[in-house]
């Protein structure tokens, strides 16, 4: 019997929002003509973490640790800035256990696209409340109403320094694809927060619930010159806090005027983009070729 080498068996629940994100991701990769030679999918832990294994097409995947996907992604990106690095992580992964990395990623503004699978629950551990679940909400999997207030991913991203901040809805695969494409081609740190139902554990924020509330943002989110920054941020934050009754989707904020981390490194290492760590030659026929004489001379006393 021949194994199906093309695609791994997908074990997400029927109706899971992750399918929408997966289809959006596949289409985005296809349209951007990205494969393993120029892109890598990094993921965290949970249902969303399996996404790289399920993508059809020639791509590489790095399924990492809970909360740490952005840290792995940073190392990959900096050592090989030629790769497009796309991170998929859940809301618990990103805003719970990994929230420190989420904030720090904004400070750096490396060109990494982060796609958050935001379903307000920890699915793979049977539906505990995630950091995006509203205070007092009680899904069927919770023993008591949620006692914690929610993180606002859009507002947190903007205040952390993300330069592309967008929100999508998982079942709108065409919007999801479009926003992923923009995030991947954005120069700087990008967030696409994808709202998604969890059909198994979240019986409140369902497909119908979202459908009744979502609408497309119409404001121009982009900072075209630096003097607009504050106004665009304020507009984005205002839109970020329209919640529960009406949920805006689309790009909240975009600013490519902020230097990327790669550009900041380039100011210290002028040939960084032409000869980055992953491509540097460090030996010749097994002998070290780094020259230390000058460094040791500086410490030579006699």
């Amino acid at each position: 019997m021949e194994a199906n080498k093309e695609i791994e068996f997908n074990d997400w629940c029927v109706g899971c929002g992750d399918f929408g994100i997966l289809r959006g991701m596949e289409a985005a990769l296809r349209e951007l003509k990205l494969d393993f030679t120029d892109a890598v999918l990094v993921s965290g832990i949970g249902c969303s973490g399996k996404l790289p294994h399920f993508v059809s097409g020639p791509i590489s995947g790095v399924h990492t640790l809970h909360g740490r996907a952005l840290a792995f992604a940073l190392g990959i990106k900096l050592a090989n800035p030629g790769l497009k690095v796309i991170v998929n992580a859940g809301d618990g992964d990103t805003f719970g256990i990994g929230v420190g990395h989420f904030v720090s990623a904004g400070r750096r503004n490396a060109s990494i696209a982060l796609v958050v699978h935001d379903n307000r629950v920890y699915g793979l551990t049977k539906g505990q409340a995630s950091p995006t679940m509203p205070l007092g909400e009680r899904t069927k999997s919770l023993p008591k109403p949620n006692i914690n207030g929610p993180i606002n991913p859009i507002a947190l991203a903007i205040s952390s320094g993300y330069t592309f901040v967008a929100r999508s809805f998982a079942y709108d695969t065409s919007m999801t694809k479009e926003l992923i494409k923009q995030a991947v081609t954005h120069r700087g740190m990008a967030l696409v927060d994808v709202l998604q139902p969890c059909p198994t554990y979240n019986d409140i924020n369902t497909n119908e619930w979202y459908r009744e509330r979502i609408y497309a943002l119409e404001d121009d989110p982009e900072v075209h010159n630096e003097s607009e920054t504050l106004a665009k941020m304020t507009q984005a934050l205002k839109n970020a806090y329209i919640e529960e009754e009406k949920i805006p989707l689309g790009i909240f904020y975009k600013n490519e005027l902020v230097p990327t981390y790669e550009e900041r490194i380039k100011s210290n290492i002028p040939n960084y983009m032409e000869n980055y760590p992953a491509m540097q030659k460090i030996e010749d026929n097994g002998l070290a070729i780094t020259e230390l004489d000058k460094l040791i001379d500086a410490r030579t006393v006699i």
């Binding site: 030679t37 590489s60 995947g61 900096l78 050592a79 097994g286 780094t290 020259e291 230390l292 410490r299």
Partner: protein, 625 residues
């Protein structure tokens, strides 16, 4: 020949720079030096000191006793007076200062030191210390620091606050003049260290001259013609140099003592010259938000093919455990330079210790091949860093390189050739697959090592879950058995690669073996010289690699020995416990020290005598301040 000098002062008063100048001057006279640095977890004000040994031969350790105690404050006198045997250089204006007035001196220490004076029927001032010392034949050398500083300020017309930083240089001048009459060495050292900083050069030269004029020569060290070129280096810098030479191109770190100096040194020198390449190469140094990001970004970087590492100490290493486990599962070569300090918790943040060996050996949940190397002296650090990176790549697994705080922060004058030798770089099985879409990152091979391609060069999958050859999640029990075995058996590559000398250093012969690892090696080597005079021959076995453990070598070496003495800077003799676990051999005696200070030659020699002559089961050392 061994002259022992100790300089102390409040942190932030330039004790470091002073010791640096002194070291360079001593080197110019043709001598070697080993200097151990002690300090508090504090920015300014707490007592710090350098304990320095000068010799015509390379030295690896300090003594508890010192010949010259060089001071410019009262606390240093009170802390160390019971350790000086030759000269005390001190500030005349401090004579009436009492030990009870030194607020920064911990009460327990003050009480203990005061008791020494009280027992001799004396009071508790500096003047009483001088009386105490004079009865013991120690000569006091008073210096009028205040008036000398005033002269310098008037002469140079500079801000007294700026001038104050040169006070210690008076002390250096006095010290050097006691030792050596060729003062050109001192002025040469000052010119070298303050080159390009005219104001400080002038200031320090004046201060040093004020010091040299205040004392007369006593030790008459003769100039020695040095054979080759020598460098003054500390362990942090040597590790950084080794990593760079070994091809490190990505280093992540989160600030922690005593590890950060390595990373900041690499960042300062991040543009490295490379043979036969026109342009310099850039080494990425990232200060991450925490140690979780430090280890995991280094692991990520390694997936692209860059040699990657991080550096930390105990608390940070604890946080890195999960990342190390992931690297083990995903067969990622990554180096963690583990600067070991006093633990548990923050413990003694600026003091030394060997209590985390078992953590290094067991870091991360699960069973997988890992490399654990521990350096025992400065010259070893350079090559160990390269070997650790080579083994990480040969075995495709994480490596831990242990450097204790005492080695990290001590300085040696070293012959350049003693550490800076041609190094081979072994990158193991690297491939650029011809059929990249059908590449298997975790292909089962006879030796357990799969051909490794880098991200960007083939389609590949990594996951912390158990996985199949392609890297997809797989829970098949047969696959599990094969993959698990693969991750362990590849350690054989490291065993084959390492020479006996790299596995364990065996020095001397005798029926008593001192079994050690890491920094106690230095005190043992130096004590062995000393013990020859007592007719005691001992053998030292220094385990340099703990994983893979050199079991056969140790069994062979230890067979038929009368005494096997575990010598370690911890309470449980963890290195010996590993030996027992791996070989079934038990130590017979113990010499242990866990007070956060390094082993000193003299206290160790006394302990060895006790063990050899009386077969004392356990000696606990407590030297150092």
């Amino acid at each position: 020949m061994r002259v022992r000098w100790l300089i102390g002062g409040a942190q932030g008063t330039g004790v470091d720079t002073a010791a640096n100048v002194f070291g360079a001057a001593v080197a110019r006279a043709g001598y070697y030096l080993f200097g151990s640095r002690e300090y508090f977890s504090n920015i300014k004000g707490r007592h710090s000191y350098f304990n320095v040994v000068i010799s015509d031969k390379v030295q690896f350790s300090i003594d508890s006793k010192v010949d010259i105690l060089a001071t410019f404050d009262a606390e240093t006198i009170f802390q160390h007076f019971d350790d000086v045997t030759g000269y005390l250089i001190y500030d005349k204006a401090q004579e009436q200062t009492g030990i009870d007035k030194i607020r920064s001196l911990e009460f327990g220490i003050a009480k203990r030191q005061a008791a020494i004076l009280e027992k001799a029927g004396l009071g508790i001032t500096v003047a009483d210390v001088i009386k105490y010392l004079s009865d013991k034949g120690v000569k006091a050398v008073p210096i009028n620091y205040g008036p000398l500083m005033k002269d310098i300020i008037n002469q140079l017309k500079i801000d007294p606050f700026v001038a104050e930083r040169a006070r210690n240089m008076i002390c250096i001048g006095a010290s050097f003049s006691l030792l050596c009459s060729n003062l050109d060495h001192l002025s040469g050292a000052i010119e070298q260290i303050f080159a390009g900083k005219q104001k400080f050069l002038e200031l320090n030269k004046l201060a040093a001259t004020a010091g040299t004029n205040a004392v007369t020569n006593a030790y008459s060290l003769k100039d020695i013609k040095a054979s080759g070129r020598r460098a003054q280096l500390d362990g942090n810098t040597i590790s950084a140099l080794g990593k760079l030479y070994g091809g490190l191109r990505f280093q992540s770190y989160y600030p922690i003592t005593p590890a950060s100096d390595e990373s900041t040194y690499i960042e300062t020198n991040q543009l490295v010259a490379v043979k036969s390449e026109g342009e310099k190469q850039g080494v990425i140094v990232v200060q991450t938000e925490d140690e979780l990001a430090a280890i995991n970004s280094a692991v990520g970087a390694s997936l692209t093919g860059a040699r990657s590492a991080t550096a930390t100490s105990g608390p940070g290493f604890s946080l890195m455990n999960e990342g190390i486990s992931w690297a083990g599962m995903n067969e990622v070569p990554v180096l963690v330079t583990y600067y070991m300090r006093g633990s548990p918790a923050t413990g003694l943040p600026t003091r030394s210790g060997q209590s985390d060996l078992k953590l290094a050996l067991n870091a991360g949940h699960g069973e997988f091949a890992r490399i654990v190397i521990a350096s025992g002296e400065h010259a070893e650090i350079f090559n160990d860093a390269i070997t650790a990176m080579n083994l990480a790549e040969l075995c495709q697994t994480p490596a831990v390189h242990i450097i204790e705080k005492t080695l990290a922060n001590s300085y040696s004058i070293m012959d350049r050739e003693s550490f800076f030798t041609d190094a081979r770089i072994e990158r193991g099985k690297i491939v650029y697959p011809e059929d990249p879409e059908n590449y298997k990152r975790f292909e089962i091979t006879p030796d357990g090592v799969s051909p490794r391609a880098f991200l960007g060069h083939a389609q590949m999958y990594y996951t912390g879950d158990e996985h199949d050859e392609r890297g997809h999640i797989a829970e098949d029990p047969f696959n599990r058995t094969a993959m698990y075995e693969k991750r362990i058996k590849k350690l054989k590559q490291a065993e084959n690669y390492l020479t006996e000398k790299q596995k364990a250093n065996i020095i001397g012969t005798g029926s008593t073996v001192l079994l050690t690892w890491g920094s106690p090696k230095g005190a043992i080597i130096d004590a062995m010289e000393l013990l020859k005079d007592d007719g005691i021959d001992i053998e030292m076995v220094q385990v340099r690699v703990f994983s893979p453990y050199p079991s056969e070598l140790l069994k062979k070496t230890l067979a038929g020995k009368k005494q096997i003495v575990a010598v370690e800077n911890n309470r449980n003799a963890q290195g010996a416990e590993i030996m027992t676990e791996q070989t079934g051999i038990m130590p017979t005696n113990y010499i242990l020290k866990w007070n956060g200070r390094p082993m000193a030659r003299d206290e160790l020699a006394d302990a060895i005598k006790d063990v050899v002559r009386n077969n004392t089961k356990m000696v606990v050392l407590n030297g150092g301040k």
